[in-house]
């Protein structure tokens, strides 16, 4: 029964994928490849980089929070009035790669969050730490 509310506020999708993590990493981090499975974007695998994901229904405001090539990628995900954190984790297996996506830390968007995000974005890291602390 523990973490009922935390679980209700997070989304986890994981899958075994029969390809090496290096190849999946490219699909997760190269803009022309991201566009093919997710949305149009101006992504760069650089911590602090702000980018958008664009679809015909609107725009997702993102900022890169953590990059560990072939292992972990994390970025904030702001859509409409809701802000969350997306974390991708790649783990090599005998068959290929275990790919895990967790979207959590949902909270109402606050304008000052974006204003404060331009510099060293300590608030974003504090938020990320909070999210990580909740993962059992």
């Amino acid at each position: 029964m523990s973490n009922v509310a935390t679980e209700a506020l997070s989304v986890v999708v994981e899958r075994e994928i029969p390809f090496p993590s290096e190849k999946i990493w490219r699909a997760l981090t190269q803009p022309h490849l991201i566009e093919e499975w997710l949305m149009k974007n101006d992504f760069k695998p650089v911590v602090g980089h702000g980018f958008n994901l664009r679809a015909d229904w609107g725009v997702v405001d993102c900022q890169v929070l953590a990059v560990e090539p072939n292992k972990t990628l994390s970025y904030s995900w702001g859509v409409f009035d809701l802000e969350s954190v997306l974390t991708w984790t790649l783990t090599p297996t005998s068959m290929g790669t275990h790919l895990r996506m967790e979207q959590s830390g949902f909270r109402p968007d606050q304008q000052r969050y974006y204003q404060g995000a331009k510099g060293g974005c300590p608030r974003f890291f504090a938020a990320l730490e909070q999210v990580l602390a909740r993962i059992d």
């Binding site: 994928i17 997710l38 909070q130």
Partner: protein
Amino acid sequence: MATNSQRVIDLKMPKAHDVLFRTLADPTRRAIFERLCRDGDQTVGALTARAGVSQPAVSKHLAVLKQAGLVRDRHEGRQTHYSAQLSALAPLIDWTSQMAGFWQSRFDHLEDLLKRMDQ
């Protein structure tokens, strides 16, 4: 396969769930709620002993939780017992499963792309 315009439903937190979400976004409040889920009915005093915040603060969190329908109170003599209302979480669980559906379909697209990519 759903189009992007249909996907807007998946990505947007419905207005009706806003209160629920805002209520549980606070870590202290969520901890109080989870304690009630785990340990059953409790008084403010018992909750305060383990919450790490003052009794007035706990009472305030409980009032917000009650307003969101997440807890119910029951008076017994001079004591008030609080209990979690798990059914109130249902809209959030529905919403997160919709989000999971969105990501499942993106995972499908990603796998298709990986098959097309050169090594």
